[in-house]
């Protein structure tokens, strides 16, 4: 249970997961924000109008997955680092996950790393496809990982191989 462990329940994840059809159509943002807290920057980050206007600043963000084009502008704007972009259309075996990553050293493009789930467990090998660290991201770099299709909704972080 999230309030006790800090790990979202599978039902919570199911609720915010886009439809299979939408996932196959290319990149889409998912917002793993499950608590009503006073916070609204994600809605201002979205240029597509996919993240709906808040009636109350304490509302949970509502994202229209059909309007979302997976641009990822919201990823580094979320103070909770709770937004990820999933792309299941990458290849037959692999999908892409774009995630915020505020640790040093940053990985290299092409580096093999280990995908980590919401409980901090190692779940699979992953490959770094892209590392973005522009000024606009304001010190919240965005790392794109390629992972097996089955792990797209599991992997939420990574560690470098060989430990620290």
């Amino acid at each position: 249970m999230l309030e006790k462990t800090g790990v979202p329940d599978p039902e919570q994840i199911n609720k915010i997961t886009p439809s299979q059809e939408r996932l196959k159509n290319g990149p889409v943002a998912i917002v793993e924000c499950f608590q009503n807290i006073p916070c609204d920057p994600c809605r201002y980050a979205c240029r597509q109008g996919a993240i709906k206007e808040f009636a109350d600043i304490n509302d949970l963000p509502v994202i229209d997955h059909e309007e979302c084009n997976g641009c990822g502008l919201c990823i580094s704007e979320c103070p909770g680092l709770a937004i990820f972009v999933i792309d299941a259309s990458y290849s037959a075996d692999e999908g892409l996950i774009k995630m915020p990553y505020e640790y040093l050293p940053l990985p290299e493009q092409g580096e093999e790393v280990i995908g980590i789930d919401t409980e901090g467990r190692e779940v699979c090998n992953a490959r770094v496809v892209k590392v973005q660290n522009t000024k606009a991201l304001d010190r919240t770099p965005v790392v794109t990982l390629a992972v097996p299709q089955a792990q797209l909704m599991k992997v939420r972080s990574f560690v470098k191989k060989g430990g620290e």
């Binding site: 800090g6 009503n36 006073p38 809605r43 600043i57 103070p79 980590i116 919401t118």
Partner: protein
Amino acid sequence: MLKPEIAIVGGGPAGLSAALSAVRQGAEVMLLDRDPSLGGQLVKQTHMFFGSKKEYAAIRGIDIPGKLISALEDEGKGRFKPLLNTAVLGYYDDGVILADKEEEAMLIKPQKIVIATGAAEKMLPFPGNDLPGVYGAGAVQTLMNVYGIKPGNRVLMVGAGNIGLIVSYQLRQAGVEVAAIIEGASRIGGYLVHATKVRRAGIPILTSHTIKEAYGKQKVEGALICNLDENWCAIPGSDKDMKVDVICLAVGLTPQTELLWQAGCQQKYLPELGGYVPLRNEKMQTSLSSVYVAGDVACIEEAGSAMVEGKIAGLFAAADLGYDEKVEERFLAYSQELEELRAGPTGAKIREGLARLNGGV
């Protein structure tokens, strides 16, 4: 004796916002802070802030003082006077403030004063809590984020409120291992997005757990922790030994109200708001009409609401001196903003505390 129109004590988010609000009205402001730079606790908040996009959400805490200070310099035009390295020591019956600026005594008699002295960390009693290696979370954050000093190699964090969660994340960013975050309550007190962030960084969160003792010869070598039942009683046989060299306490904050006691402001004990807090009206004016309050000294809350409270206190401190342009309009906007920030489930405790506070005025 210096005689500014308004003196503000404390240059954190509340004090800086009060200063900006007051100079915008046209008043002259002297801002006193004991630290060598302005910003209060913001100077070590390397994470992005939550809250309203209007109120610096998604901006890192460390970047907020610079924005407020440049606005103060632009808009204050000679009416904003910061005094750094200046500790306010006392408030006397005749409205005179005694301050120590680099070992020189100073007397200041402002027409209005805004107290924005913030909060102090709470301590937890347990055997061994005086061993070197037992830190307050604020100290760990200062060492790491202000001075670049690593506090140790393996940390036990006590408290899963926002401070415990955020400092654990920042320790992990600094390459320090966090063995666990323990929390006496059965639920995580801080924002759950912070909790998920530290969990995926591999840090366990153990709710219904407390620290029994810290041990070590010259310094902390480890801690005994145990499980608590629903009555907060230790469950026999549940002890666990954690080998750590740092124990970091993040067990809450309490308002720093000493100056308000000295001034004779009426206060009330409200645990929901962090302890003794000053009675005040919606203008953030205390029972002494020339004394205003804002931020954690008035109620332990987030920096976002502290900044809005600062704007209200600064607005009315200036308005009472006759700088009353658009007061009603501005007050309405700020109070709506405050209400929105406190409207959700995470604001429930604050709402209850404020209702009891007002019930007693």
